[in-house]
């Protein structure tokens, strides 16, 4: 066992690499390299989409094969649930019409999300504690920072980084996510992303009632439109001594399983 003596000549490439990195960082930050990035992303995007579709396909085949037994039971449960939901939906349609007519009379407006465009999911861009979804629409397509990524009325996250043809959507599980929310029964709290724990509902007062399986929606505060579904209460964590209670939150959709997401102005 012997140690080798460091030879400084071997390290001569690092200053060059760091200098090149610094220059690239500067040029990309000011948008000087956007035409080149746009061209190269045009070449790499089809590859990324194919890879994403391929891995999703393989993943779903494997998942089906390993869960075939439980899927049968789940299917019959879902058929019953579907029938119940259809009945509930019919009742809600009547209530919606009634609600709209009442809002019209009192002059209150319903906030509807304006969907700008659809984008393909091309992968995950997270590293460290970051949790990011990559989509194939960028500055060239008119995407801007702060736009919301949704699927129907389910909120997936917010656009945080835009390059010419690709954008990064910060998912709800990202630790920097903090959204004011309320549950179906009206309990208010904050939805937070936590590294290794997924999504958590926090800051819910002890007097509020959290029920497992209840849906959670945005409350309309802090620049997020109201009534976008963000998840379902999974496990309630209530400790009497503490000031607030919390709950782990189950995602309504797995972002990486999606083929398309929709972008809406916030």
């Amino acid at each position: 066992m012997r140690s080798r003596r460091p030879n400084l000549f071997e390290f001569r490439f690092y200053p060059l690499l760091l200098l090149a990195g610094g220059l690239l960082f500067l040029f990309i930050s000011i948008g000087f390299l956007n035409p080149i990035l746009s061209f190269t992303q045009g070449v790499t995007l089809p590859l990324q989409i194919s890879f994403h579709n391929l891995t999703s396909g393989v993943g779903s085949v494997l998942n089906t094969a390993t869960h075939i037994g439980s899927l049968r039971n789940k299917n019959s449960d879902l058929q019953v649930e579907n029938a119940a939901l259809k009945a509930e939906n019919a009742a809600l349609k009547k209530l919606k019409a009634e609600n709209q007519s009442l809002r019209a009379q009192i002059g209150s407006k319903v906030v509807d999300l304006k969907i700008n465009q659809a984008a393909h999911v091309i992968g995950l861009g997270g590293f460290g504690t970051k949790s990011v979804l990559l989509i194939d629409a960028g500055k060239n397509d008119g995407v801007s920072k702060g736009e919301l990524a949704v699927v129907k009325s389910i909120l997936l996250g917010k656009v945080v980084d835009v390059s010419p043809k690709v954008s990064s959507v910060q998912l709800l599980s990202d630790p920097s996510t903090k959204i004011p929310v309320r549950t179906e029964s009206g309990a208010e709290g904050i939805l937070e992303g936590r590294f290794g724990q997924g999504v958590v509902l926090t800051n819910v007062v002890q007097s509020a009632k959290l029920v497992q399986g209840e849906l959670i929606f945005t409350s309309g505060k802090d620049n997020y439109p109201a009534n976008l579904a963000v998840g379902k209460i999974d496990k309630v964590n209530k400790v009497e001594k503490e000031f607030f209670q919390s709950a782990s939150v189950e995602n309504l959709v797995n972002p990486n399983d999606l083929a398309l997401v929709y972008l809406a102005k916030n």
């Binding site: 140690s3 090149a20 610094g22 990309i28 990324q48 890879f51 994403h52 460290g128 990559l134 980084d161």
Partner: protein, 112 residues
């Protein structure tokens, strides 16, 4: 021939990373190549890996290049300090996963 094979594996690995794996496996592959196939290693592979990673993961390529270069420098210094045997090499490949992740998180994450 080995260089071409490594380059193709690197390309596929980086593409797969954005859909399946964490973002630092390509870096570990580079470190393994540096430790085991020294004669064939080129420092431009670090630049190539950074460019591909930046493009595929929608990160600033410059910052990724700085992060990977610094991470590689740390591994390089460690490799000089440690005895040259398989245990050291395997340990360095494993450490490189953490070093690159920390480096990327610090440099790219903090600038967001």
């Amino acid at each position: 021939m080995l260089k071409v094979a490594i380059f193709i594996i690197l390309l596929f690995l980086i593409m797969l990373q954005t859909v399946v794996f964490p973002l630092n496996l390509a870096f570990a592959l580079l470190v393994a190549f540096f430790l085991y196939g020294k004669g064939d290693f080129s420092y431009w592979y670090i630049a190539i890996a950074a460019i591909l990673l930046g493009l595929f993961a929608n990160l600033n390529i410059g910052l990724v290049l700085i992060a990977l270069s610094l991470a590689f420098l740390i591994i390089h210094l460690f490799s000089k300090a440690l005895p040259e045997n398989n245990l050291s090499k395997i340990s360095l490949v494993l450490v490189s996963l953490v070093v690159s992740e920390v480096s990327l998180t610090l440099l790219v994450g903090l600038t967001k």
